[in-house]
Symmetry: C2
Subunit: 428 residues, 2 copies
C-alpha cells in the first residue's frame, strides 16, 4: 500500500492562475510551508508531497466569487485534481478530511473552491468497515424483498408525549408501512427521553410483529455523547428495535465509526446541516464526496433530499446524490440505501426508481401518507401502486383507473412541476 | 430548567420577507411541517415550539445572494433571533446543533443565512464539562506564570521520520520555547505512527525537563477513531506528555466530549476545515458560536488564525474570534486559550495582548522562530521581548535598542500592513 495514493478533485477559481493555486494547495496540504525549509528535502517530498495530477481550465471571471485577500486582473476557473500518498495518514477518515478538506478553503490563492470528487485505493476502502447492512440487510430486517421501502417521519417533529408518539406509531404500523423514523429534532429531551420513547414504541411495534410476522423498522434518534449512544444502542437491541439514527454532522466521523463498531443495528444517517456544505456554488463539498466518507465510516441509510423537494436543491443534484449513494466503492462489499424525503407524494416515487434503475430505495412521505383522504393505509397503498406503475412502464393515471387508493392520491396531492418527473428533463 | 430557552441569532436574506422567513425557520426547526397537522395542538406548541424573539431589518437587495427556488421582488436582509425550549433536547451539544444549525440552511425562504450568535442558559452550560484546564491549567503544566506562551509547529507538516522529528524537537526545546505541536496533517501514518513519534519526542522532552525542571508542552495529534484516541491518550499520559490535539470538525462534537471525559490532558482544538463555515458572507456559522460549542464540549485551546495572516480572514474577524474564546460563558468555570498562528512574527504579538487586554494566549510562530538569523533561541527571545514592549507601552523599535534578538528579528521579518498592528484600525 505504501506507493498508493488518494485523489481529490476541486472546482476552483483563482486570482493567481490555476497552476499556482493548485501548487499552493498541494504545498499547504502536505510538505510545503510559506517559506521553503531546508528540511523539505527531495527524499521527504518523494515520500510525502501532494502532487498536482491535472488542471483543466473552464472559464474566467472578472470578479472574485468570495472575499479574497489577493486580487488578480482576472479570476481563472477550472478543475484541479490532486493526489497524496496513503502513507501520509493510513486509512483514517478523520485524517483524510483534515488533508483534503482542511486548511485550504480559506487560502488567499483561491476565490472559490469546492471539493467535488474523491477516489481512495481499494486497500484504503477495504480497511474501513462500510455499511454493515446496506440494502439487503435492511430489506431482510423489514421483510420487503422487492420494490421501494415506504417510510414516514413522526410529526410534529418535536413536542409529542411518549404516549402520543406510541399511539401515532400504532396507527402508522397498522397502515402497512415499512419504516418510521424520529424527526432529527426529536432526540432525548426530558419530555420524551429516548429510553421511555423506545420502550413505548417498541411495545407497539413488537405487538404488531407478533401478529403479522413482519416487524416495521423504527429508526430511533440516538444522537448524543459516545457513552449515551452506546447505552441507547444496547437498549434498542434489547427491546428488539432494528435501526438507530444519528445526526452525522454533529456526531462526527469518529462517532459514526464508533457506532458502526459497537452496534449491530443499521445506522440511519441524517445529514441535517448539510446545506452549510452544499448551498453555495462557491464553497463547499459535493454529496458524492461526503456520502462516500459517511458510508466508509459505516452509515447504512443516507438522506438525499427528494425530487421536487421543498428546499432549494435542484433535481439534478438530488439525482446525483442518490446515484452516488448506491454506486459501488471498489474495496467495499455493499452500497448504502438512498433515502428520499421532503414533500414526497405518489407523484415522485416512480421517477425515483426510473432514474436509479433500481427499486432499492427508502421513500419517506409525511403528508403524502397521513393526509390521504382514506387514511394512512390508503396512503401507503397508493405509494406502492405508484411505484408499480413506473416499474411496468404504465402512466400513473392509467394505472390508477382500477386502483382507488392511487386514484384518490392523484386527485389529492398536487402534481409537482414536470421537471422532477422525467429522467431526461433538465431542471433549471 | 423546564421553562428555560436557548437562543440563536441569524443574519438572513429572504425573498418572502423577514417575518415570513423567521416563522418558517421556527416552524421547520420545531413543531411545524409543510402542512399544519391537527396534532400540532396549542398545548404542544406551548411546550415545544420555537419562538421568533426579534426581527431587525438591515437592508434590501435586488438579487438573491445564494441560489434560491423562491424569488421575490426584492430580498430583505436582517437579523432574526429565535428561541427554543431547553426541554426539547436537554443539554446536548450534538442535538443543539441539529436544532440551530440543522435543516435550515437550504430553506427556499432564505437566500442567505448565517448563524451569528448563541446563548444558552446557565443550567445548560453548567451541565456540560467545558475545558478541564483552560488558561491556568495550561500555564501550570508548562510553567509559564505570566506573559504569552510561545509555541511552534513542526515543519515540514508531513513526511519527517520519527528520528528527524525528535531531532527537531531537541533543537526547539533547547531554544526555550513553551509549546510545540504536530501539524494537523501529521496524524499516525505508517511512516510516523503516533506511538513511535510520541515515544521518541517525549524522550527528548522529558530529558530536557529533568535538567531544567520545566516541561515543554507538546501537542500530539491523536485524531482518529474513538478507540484509537482512547489508546493514544493513555499512551501520552503514560509517557508524561501534557497535551492531546484533535481535528475538531472531523472528530465531531461527540468525539471531543469523549476525549474530555476520558483523558486528563488539555485538548488542543484544531479547527481545520473551518473555512467551509466562515468564508462565504452568505452562508455559514460565526466563530463566536462555533467556539462556544467546542468549548462547552471540552476543548482547552482553540485556534483563531492570526493578525495579518496568510489566509483571507480579516483582522476584525480574528480579533472577534480571540475575544470570544477568552470570554466568560455563564455557568462555566473557565475560558479556553486562544491560539494565534499563520505567518506570525515579532510584529503581531504585542497587538494580540493589547486588543485581548490580557497576556493569556498561545502565540505559534514557525518561520518567525526557526528563521531568526541567530537561531531559534533568539527567535523565542525576540518574541518574548516584543510582547514585553507592548505590555510596557513602549514602541517595539525603541524596546529593541538594547535587545539584540528583537532588533535582528525586526530587521529580518517583514512588517505587515499597519492595520493588523493597531487596535483602533479598521481593516478593510
Amino acid at each position: 500500500m505504501s506507493s498508493e495514493r488518494f485523489e481529490a478533485t476541486y472546482e476552483i477559481e483563482s486570482p493567481v492562475g490555476l497552476e499556482r493555486a493548485a501548487a499552493v494547495i498541494a504545498g499547504e496540504q502536505s510538505t510545503g510551508t510559506f517559506v521553503r525549509l531546508a528540511s523539505e528535502t527531495d527524499a521527504l517530498r518523494d515520500r510525502a508531497a501532494a502532487r498536482v495530477e491535472s488542471i483543466e481550465k473552464t472559464g474566467t471571471s472578472s470578479t472574485p466569487s468570495l472575499p479574497c485577500r489577493l486580487t488578480g486582473d482576472s479570476y481563472q476557473r477550472g478543475i484541479v485534481r490532486l493526489s497524496w500518498p496513503v502513507a501520509n495518514i493510513g486509512p483514517s477518515l478523520p485524517n483524510l478530511m483534515a488533508t483534503i478538506a482542511g486548511n485550504l478553503f480559506e487560502l488567499a490563492e483561491v476565490s472559490a473552491i469546492r471539493l467535488i470528487d474523491l477516489h481512495v485505493p481499494k486497500s484504503f476502502a477495504s480497511a474501513l468497515p462500510g455499511p454493515a447492512h446496506g440494502v439487503d440487510g435492511t430489506r431482510a430486517l423489514i421483510g420487503v424483498p422487492d420494490g421501494p421501502m415506504i417510510g414516514t417521519i413522526i410529526k410534529p417533529s418535536i413536542g409529542l408525549t411518549v404516549e402520543d408518539t406510541a399511539a401515532l406509531v400504532d396507527t402508522l404500523v397498522s397502515s402497512g408501512i415499512d419504516f418510521i423514523k424520529d424527526d432529527e429534532l426529536q432526540s432525548s429531551g426530558p419530555e420524551s427521553t429516548l429510553e421511555n420513547r423506545a420502550k413505548a414504541v417498541m411495545e407497539v411495534v413488537n405487538s404488531h410483529a407478533d401478529k403479522t410476522g413482519r416487524k416495521v423498522m423504527y429508526a430511533f434518534n440516538i444522537t448524543g455523547e459516545i457513552d449515551e449512544m452506546a447505552r441507547r444502542a444496547d437498549l434498542l437491541e434489547s427491546l428488539g428495535a432494528t435501526c438507530a439514527m444519528i445526526s452525522l454532522n454533529w456526531v462526527g466521523l469518529s462517532g459514526i465509526r464508533f457506532l458502526r463498531d459497537r452496534c449491530a443495528l443499521p445506522i440511519h444517517g441524517h445529514r441535517n446541516g448539510w446545506g452549510l456544505m452544499s448551498r453555495s456554488p462557491h464553497i463547499g463539498i459535493s454529496y458524492p464526496v461526503q456520502q462516500m466518507v459517511w458510508r466508509l465510516a459505516g452509515a447504512d441509510h443516507l438522506h438525499v433530499n427528494g425530487l421536487a423537494n421543498k428546499f432549494t436543491e435542484t433535481d439534478d443534484v438530488v439525482r446525483e446524490a442518490a446515484l452516488a449513494v448506491q454506486a459501488e466503492i471498489p474495496g467495499t462489499s455493499r452500497a448504502a440505501l438512498p433515502v428520499f424525503s421532503s414533500g414526497q407524494t405518489v407523484w415522485q416515487i416512480g421517477e425515483c426508481g426510473t432514474f436509479l434503475g433500481s427499486q432499492d430505495f427508502l421513500y419517506c412521505a409525511g403528508g403524502g401518507i397521513i393526509s390521504h383522504p382514506d387514511g394512512p393505509a390508503a396512503g401507503v397503498s397508493a405509494l406502492r401502486e405508484a411505484a408499480e406503475a413506473a416499474k411496468h412502464g404504465v402512466p400513473i393515471e392509467t394505472w390508477a383507473k382500477d386502483r382507488a387508493a392511487l386514484s384518490k392520491a392523484l386527485q389529492s396531492f398536487k402534481r409537482p412541476d414536470a421537471t422532477a418527473l422525467a429522467s431526461d428533463a433538465q431542471p433549471s
